[in-house]
Structure formats: structure tokens, C-alpha cells
Amino acid sequence: MAAVVQLDEIHKIYDSGEVPVHAVRGVTLTIAAGEFVAIMGASGSGKSTLMNLLGCLDRPSRGRYLLDGTDVSALDRNQLADLRNQKLGFVFQGFNLLSRTTARENVELPMLYGRRAFTSREVRERALRSLDIVGLSQRADHFPSQLSGGQQQRVAIARALINEPQILLADEPTGNLDSKTSVEIMGVFQKLNEQGITIVMVTHELDIAHYCKRNLIMRDGRLVSDVAVEQRLSAAAEMQKILAAESAAKLTA
């Protein structure tokens, strides 16, 4: 399959402090279309920095990054913004939804900054379709405060999907969720991946990584492990187990 992401000897050095911090030290990585990758590592291993680089929120200090064939290193701030808008979808640990703004309006947000002009009806319809994918179309007019954590994260996923991105980037998407809701969210990701969407996520939970197809481990700014996942977990099956356990608990109680 065609490579969506090609990292070639990527370095990131922060010299804002007294001592320059070498956060990413020469990462070379290729991610093909349709992959489902988990990046793991202890805090300070450089996985978040790598994620920011992949997400075009930051530019590498050295090395070459081709996103869907485009060399990102040469782009300016606005061109990066357009790239994020067109080719990337973001899901954050803290959901990062706009409060006092309905689910639908949150999902519409990336379309406001698109290069193409849409009528407000088109925008609305696409937002509803996107919410439908994550199973929340009936909650379109709810505010984030009226939604559970899992529902909020699904709204965030719908927002990430609205511009039909090349890659979905998720930074600790289950970090703020309980285990059952985490499985629910991983189920959404697995379903999206089956539909052909490339997903790259950062996590520090090993069991969450087992829902993915490929696991990368970072340590001290370097990739130290790159393995395909054997015994991959299925969110649907895991959810069955959880529900069974729950009803068993109810019976015994």
C-alpha cells in the first residue's frame, strides 16, 4: 500500500530553555494507508513530540517528513494549518470540545476553515453524517456538558472525520476514560480502520495498544521496537465480556 507518512531521520531539538532538549533523535518510520498504529513509551520518551510532528503542529529541527507525498518541512505556518485542515484529524486526551457550543457545531468547526466554500446546509449535513458514523446523530444539539466522557470523545472523533482526512491522529484518546468507555472508543477506532482510515495513536496503556495492528515503542527519543500485534483484541468481543461480567455481578448482588 502507498505510504501516507514517511519520516526520514527526524530530529526535534527544543532550545528555549537553558539546556537544549533533544526530544526526538533520528526517527525513521513509514506508515502505509490503512494501518492502525499505537505509539507507546514512558513519559519523556518523545512520543508526544513525535505526535505533534506527525500532526504538523510542529516542524522537525532536522530530517524529512513526507505527508501523503508533501514535504512538510518546507511549509509555513498557514500552509501547515491548511494541511492539518485537509489531511489530518485530531483526537485529544481532554476531548478539547468548545463548551457552550453544540455537538454539531463542534463537528462543523474544521469546515469553517476549509479551502472550499460550503453552504451552511452542506456543512450541517456533513456534520450530521459524521456524527452518525460515531453513533451520536441524535445528540447533535446537546452541549458537551450534557454528554458523557465517551460521548464527548466520540464527538471529537466525528470532528476529526468531517474533512475526510488521510490520517486520524489520537493523543491518549482513552486517557480520561474508564475502562469500559475506553473499549467503546477503541471499538469506534477499529470500525473506522476497517473502513480504510489510517489511525495513529499515542497511548501508555498496553491493553489499549493491543486493539491496534502495529505497536511502536519509543525510548529517549528513539524508536526501540516496531512489532505487528499478535493476538489482537476485538473491541466488540471485549465489550461482550464486560457486559457479561456486569450482568453476572448484578445477579450475584
Partner: protein
């Protein structure tokens, strides 16, 4: 599309914190209202001054006699008694661009009628005096040319004199006595009110100047000559021509007269009220600036509060320009909305002031346009710094902001 979206986003943000938006706009509302009210009141005062100057008559030149020097003691203007009726006739006949000339005598006298008495101004004038002063007779008629020629004992009187001497009766045809000389009242003047110096213009008795010279003053010299020119543009030339003519008639003697233009008097008076208007507007303008600073303050708070929002917007593809525009538009909407409400409040306040104090107010369009333009400029000026701060945020930092 992108621009329209940005405006929608800004409006939505303002609506979401409606109370704060209103309080922020209040600074501008009060500022604009103050400017408009002050300018309106100032303009009203100015128009009143102008109206009272206009009531003096149009394009008027006054010829005063010069100073009299007696043994080294110099009297003021008018102390010499050197203007004659012949001077007045010469101006009438020889100076081009002169419409009316009225030789003038002034005097204060005790006037008796009906068993009542009253001290008032007694003017000796020509028939044309009423035309020059744009004055009219409300009852009866003006004394005639024939009355002037024959130095008749006829007079017209002002409303105040009517009230004082003929409180219960029709004055027309009755007699009043000035220094024991009986004058027949032939007309009553239309009320004219106070002039810009605060003198009661209706407290007057007007008789033919010939009668005044012959029967009251008993001397040949005039107090002044009132000249009306055809047009304001002509006045400097007419002034010069009168000066030249009188100088020539005095064949080389020291000039013993002075010619003054009404324009000079009017300019001085309007300059005062103009200064007052500018001063009031400047004070009100300060409150507009304070309002602007209020907007900047709130926008800065808003940018800090919404750092995460800005981070999200930047992450999903907003350009710095989009964020800048969003916050700038918010500030401009606040100030222009404030401006619009301020106009209504300002007009209302000036009407109220006008009603309560009986002052004339004049709401000028230029003040309204100026206030709105100024409030928009304030929005841009004070909104720009917070907006630029927002636009320059780093998306990663902004997303991490707690």
C-alpha cells in the same frame, strides 16, 4: 465564506456571554451618548447665539462718532458729537451697495402714560429701521416718512413698554409723555426677546430721529448711523467706501468716526460658543477612550480565557488571520453596537435636557457620523492588540493551556 463564518463565530461568542458584552459596550454607549449630547447642546447654544445675532439684522454696519479730546482727556468712542444727518444722507446717496440707512439717536428717559411711569430706551430712527432690524409691527403701524420729515410726535413701542404702561388697555392712539412732550402711540412692535447680550429688546420706544434731534436731544448731532449693505460679500467694500466718504467730507481733519461691521461682533460671539462646544465634546471624547480601554481589557481577558479554544481552532486548520479577524470583529461589533445604542441614548438625553431646561439642542448628523466612525476606530484600535495576541499563540501551547 471564510469571512462570513468568522463574523458568525464572533457573533455567537458575543451572544454566549451576553451580559459581559452589554457591560463592555456600556463604556462606548455612554461615551458616544455623551459626545452626541454635548455637541447637540453646544450646537443648540451656538444656533441660539447666531439667531440672536441675526435678529440684529443682516449685513449691518454701524458708524460711530469718534473720540472727543478735551484738554488732554480722551473720551471713548462716541464721545465726540460729529456725525450729522448730512453724513447719513451722503452715505445713502453716494455709497454703492447700500440698501437702507437710518440715522440713530439713543437715550434713556422716564416715560409717562396712564398715570404710570417707566424708564426705557428711547430710540430716534428712520422708517427703514424696522427693515434693517428685520422687525415688524404687530398692532397699528410704523410712523411714516411724512412723520420723519415733519418731526412728528409719533412713536411705536415695544411689548415690555406696553406691559408696563398700558397693562389693561389698547395703547394704539393713546399718548405717552417723554420729558413732558406728548407722543402719540401709532404702533406696537412684535416681541423680539432678548439679544445675545441679555438686553430686553422689547423695552423700547421708537420715535422719528428728527423728532428726537429737535424735541429731546435739541442738538444737531447723531449718536450713530445704521447702514445695511446689500450682501455680506459686499460689506468690507461698503465699510471702506463709507470710511473714505466720511473722511473726504471732513477734508483732511483727524478721523472723528469709526465704522464697525456686524460681522466682527458676530464672529466674536460665535467663536465663544464654538469654543464651548469643542470643550464639551473633548471632555465627552475622553469617556469614549475610557470605553475603548474597557473593550481592550475585556478582549484581553477573553483571549486568555479562550486560549484552549484558540488552540483547537488553530489545530483544525484556522490561520492566524482567521483568529485575528474573529477577535477583531468581536471588538468592532461591541464598539459599533455600543455606538448605535449610544446614538439613541445621546439623542434621548439631549431631548431630555432640552425639555427640562428649555435649552435649544441641535442634534447634528456630523456628530452622529463622527461618533460612529470614532467608535469603530476604537474597536479596531483597542481590539487589535488582544486579537494579535490570540493569533500569535502556538497551537501546541494553547492546547495544553489549563
Amino acid at each position: 465564506m471564510r469571512f462570513v463564518n468568522t463574523i458568525k463565530v464572533a457573533l455567537r461568542a458575543l451572544r454566549r456571554s451576553a451580559m459581559r458584552s452589554i457591560l463592555t459596550a456600556l463604556g462606548i454607549i455612554i461615551g458616544v451618548a455623551a459626545v452626541i449630547a454635548m455637541v447637540s447642546i453646544g450646537n443648540g447654544a451656538k444656533s441660539q447665539v447666531e439667531a440672536s445675532i441675526a435678529s440684529l439684522g443682516q449685513n449691518i454696519l454701524l458708524v460711530f462718532p469718534g473720540t472727543a479730546n478735551t484738554g488732554g482727556m480722551r473720551g471713548g468712542w462716541g464721545s465726540a458729537s460729529t456725525l450729522t444727518v448730512e453724513d447719513a444722507l451722503a452715505i445713502q446717496h453716494e455709497v454703492a451697495g447700500v440698501v437702507n440707512v437710518s440715522p440713530e439717536m439713543r437715550d434713556r428717559s422716564q416715560v409717562l402714560a396712564n398715570g404710570l411711569n417707566w424708564n426705557t430706551q428711547v430710540l430716534g430712527e428712520d422708517v427703514s429701521y424696522l427693515d434693517i432690524r428685520i422687525w415688524s409691527i404687530s398692532d397699528g403701524e410704523m410712523f411714516s416718512e411724512a412723520d420723519v420729515r415733519s418731526a412728528a410726535k409719533a412713536c411705536v413701542i415695544g411689548r415690555t413698554v406696553v406691559n408696563q404702561l398700558f397693562p389693561d388697555s389698547d395703547p394704539i392712539g393713546q399718548t405717552l409723555r417723554i420729558r413732558n412732550i406728548p407722543f402719540k402711540v401709532v404702533g406696537v412692535l412684535a416681541p423680539k426677546g432678548f439679544n445675545f447680550r441679555g438686553d430686553d429688546q422689547d423695552d423700547v420706544v421708537i420715535i422719528p430721529y428728527t423728532s428726537h434731534l429737535k424735541r429731546l436731544a435739541r442738538r444737531p448731532n447723531l449718536n450713530s448711523i445704521l447702514v445695511q449693505a446689500t450682501s455680506p460679500d459686499d460689506m468690507p467694500r461698503v465699510q471702506q467706501d463709507i470710511t473714505d466718504l466720511l473722511q473726504q467730507r471732513r477734508s483732511g481733519r483727524e478721523p472723528d468716526f469709526t465704522v464697525r461691521s456686524q460681522l466682527e461682533i458676530a464672529e466674536a460671539a460665535t467663536a465663544t460658543s464654538k469654543t464651548m462646544t469643542v470643550l464639551l465634546a473633548a471632555i465627552a471624547g475622553v469617556s469614549l477612550i475610557v470605553g475603548g480601554i474597557g473593550i481592550m481589557n475585556i478582549m484581553l481577558v477573553s483571549v486568555t480565557e479562550r486560549t484552549r479554544e484558540i488552540g483547537i481552532r488553530l489545530a483544525v486548520g484556522a490561520h492566524g488571520r482567521d483568529v485575528l479577524l474573529q477577535f477583531l470583529v468581536e471588538a468592532i461589533i461591541l464598539s459599533v453596537m455600543g455606538g448605535a445604542l449610544g446614538i439613541l441614548l445621546g439623542i434621548g438625553a439631549s431631548q431630555l435636557v432640552s425639555k427640562l431646561n428649555n435649552w435649544p439642542v441641535l442634534v447634528s448628523t456630523s456628530a452622529i457620523v463622527g461618533a460612529v466612525a470614532f467608535s469603530a476606530v476604537i474597536g479596531i484600535f483597542f481590539g487589535f492588540y488582544p486579537a494579535r495576541k490570540a493569533a500569535r499563540l502556538d497551537p501546541i501551547e494553547a492546547l495544553r493551556y489549563e
